[in-house]
Symmetry: C2
């Protein structure tokens, strides 16, 4: 949040040659679109040099896993990828790989948008039956914000509870805080050094927009977020073997892994594969993503039934018309309507969603009615999350966060 | 060794306002003097903003410790200091502090010059009866040189044996390799982050001469060398207490600690005190310091009696005259004579040293005779070192390098 720079010139392999400063701003600290319909994701794929999640990949996914595809993939919520076919090859051949995702703990309460990568990761863990490592970058938060290490570390543990509540298998999941784990694992620190030896200031300047007045902790941080993409950073899980890694994450995190894909082969590792999601839009509209630092734009996982209802009714940007009469006549615009957008994330029934889209577009369905549908979909999800979270004891939390062997033979 | 820059503009507190590029180059990677008599240390004190080790300090040192002063201090080999009076205050008041020094393991064999800070540290440990932590920056060596982590780590352990052979008290000494210890101690990593949050790229550019094409590992490394100056980096020794730290080191390492003295009060610590030594000159002359990468300029601790004799006879730069007749007439120049210089380090007897100085200056003592005196002084020191080193078992080495409680109640 502290660096209001664009992506700048991406000076490593997976790059695009032309970056226009009038384009959407998408980097790990800023997401701002110039359009009401949000970020232009096709342009982003070109700019970042990734591939579409296309029909061919989805068909192969279903065939190889013998499972119906998750609606996040089916609906283009995870729209971009790198090397997913290599991961499917690996799975098809019965060979091991692992999942890695993470989160920068920004406040003690997570919001609805934060759940997206974790929901997909949990599904991927079930479908592939592989371990996942989840990094909580409390060190990053200290470097970027005016907070003490202890505070950031505490937030990491609070966030871990929300992540566990998504349903990760305790026998296949390792969640760690940088401030705790790096000082417990010489191999992780060694991999940091290996990566930091391969990346110059010029490169992080180009990739992340760092400047001369940035603190040296920020400048070297990208290596810390990249290190979990090397399986040897977790000797207790992967038995010092070099394994392929699949990273599901929101597309704004891609710069870290683009950098890592450049470094990996130079230090004897396979490039990490990626699955990129779109951003979960703010209540006020798709110009920016939901952010914990803007309470009115945000549905927190701790919100009450009443708060959820009020926030959606009061703040969810509507694609409807000014009057009922006009709406019946012209119809609503689903492309900018936030309630409809949220339903694409959380209403799994394709037919029902399509009916809603048609009815709202034609004007049969009114904005108030659409908002009620959303409230009815979201409320039980948040209630279920709160119930699951309440069950997580300190003992259970500690188990997930203890470096240990997982239930997978590497 | 890779960065041939000068000290540049020192943009933090303990600074000098004027840096002339025609001055001696003194930084952690380069020491080059423009004069045959070596670096101008008085100028360096002004430039670095430190204080002389003066008679008043030495008198107080003897009084407070009730011990005769070490000849390294008496003869100005440790010539510069910061806050030494605060350390003596602490000792006088019966309050605890600790020593910290280190070394960048550059090859598996150390040389005579490397011993200097360790010899003084061992003496300070005995006199003050305090613990010492000794950092081996194997991570630094990987970042600056084209070697693998495993190789640098191995060199660190080889060097540790030479350090132990100096005679450090096993009950009061902790020696550690960064590549091993940082991954064993969350508090060390946390202190790295605290320091890296306080120092900008602009500052390390000014202090260390880093540039945009330097790798990010180099840019953030200064925090790693600075972290042991915070006692909380060693919870097993200092019980999480904040204690004053005294760092004896060669003056080229001062930039790290100048930086740390700027940071320390901002994160709630006392500034570390320092004792700076001159450089141990190369055999070929005082224009540069002895370096392991220049075998002909260097007496290694592994050299045989014959090698020591040959190197001194063949390579030690002489302040004598071209012929015996001329020498008898004009006399030798002790200010540039390397054999005489080395005697100031290793011949403890003041009267004998003074007699040699007079005799050589007057021409009574010939160069060959002076070299023979040096050989007779150095040989038993190296032999004794080799004997002590041979006694160090892997078990003993492991003990010194295991994080543990030391014999001191903090």
């Amino acid at each position: 949040m502290d660096i209001a720079n664009g992506v700048g010139d991406i000076s490593i392999t997976d790059k695009s040659p032309n970056v226009n400063i009038n384009e959407d701003i998408v980097d790990p600290w800023t997401v701002v679109s110039s359009s009401d319909t949000g970020v232009d994701y096709d342009k982003l794929i070109k700019r970042f040099g990734s591939q579409h999640v296309d029909k061919e990949l989805l068909d192969r996914f279903e065939k190889v896993t013998n499972q119906p595809i998750h609606h996040f993939l089916r609906r283009g919520i995870f729209f971009s990828q790198r090397d997913m076919h290599l991961i499917l090859n690996q799975y098809e051949a019965g060979k091991p790989f692992y999942l890695y995702t993470g989160r920068g703990p920004s406040s003690s309460s997570m919001h609805l948008g934060h759940l997206i990568p974790f929901i997909l990761c949990k599904w991927l863990q079930d479908v592939f039956d592989v371990p996942i490592v989840i990094q909580l970058t409390d060190d990053e938060k200290c470097l970027w914000r005016d907070i003490k290490l202890e505070e950031a570390n505490k937030m990491a543990y609070e966030n871990a509870k929300d992540i566990i509540a998504v349903g990760f298998d305790i026998n296949k999941t390792f969640i760690f805080s940088d401030l705790d784990y790096i000082g417990q694992c010489p191999e992780f620190y060694r991999n940091m050094v290996r990566i930091q030896k391969c990346v110059t200031f010029n490169q992080v300047k180009g990739i992340f927009g760092f400047g001369d007045s940035d603190v040296i902790g920020k400048i070297s941080f990208p290596a810390i977020q990249a290190a979990p993409a090397l399986s040897t950073s977790f000797p207790h899980i992967f038995n010092n073997k070099k394994l392929p890694c699949l990273i599901p994450c929101a597309i704004d995190q891609d710069p870290y892994f683009r950098m890592m894909r450049d470094v990996a082969p130079r230090i004897g590792f396979q490039k990490p594969a990626l699955l990129h999601s779109v951003f979960f839009p703010a209540l006020q509209g798709a110009k920016t993503k939901m952010s914990a630092s803007e309470p009115n734009s945000t549905i927190f996982l701790t919100d009450t039934v009443k708060q959820v209802k009020n926030k959606i009714n009061k703040h969810a940007f509507s694609g409807g018309q000014a009057t009922v009469e006009e709406h019946r006549e012209i119809g609503g615009n689903c492309d900018v309507d936030i309630s409809y957008q949220y339903l694409t994330f959380f209403l799994e029934d394709d037919e029902k969603l399509e009916r809603i889209r048609k009815d709202y577009s034609s004007g049969t369905l009114l904005t108030g009615e659409l908002k009620k549908i959303l409230i009815d979909v979201i409320t039980p999800i948040i209630q279920e999350h709160q119930e699951q979270r309440a069950k997580i004891t300190e003992e259970l939390l500690k188990q997930y966060m203890t470096p240990r062997k997982l239930n997978y033979n590497y």
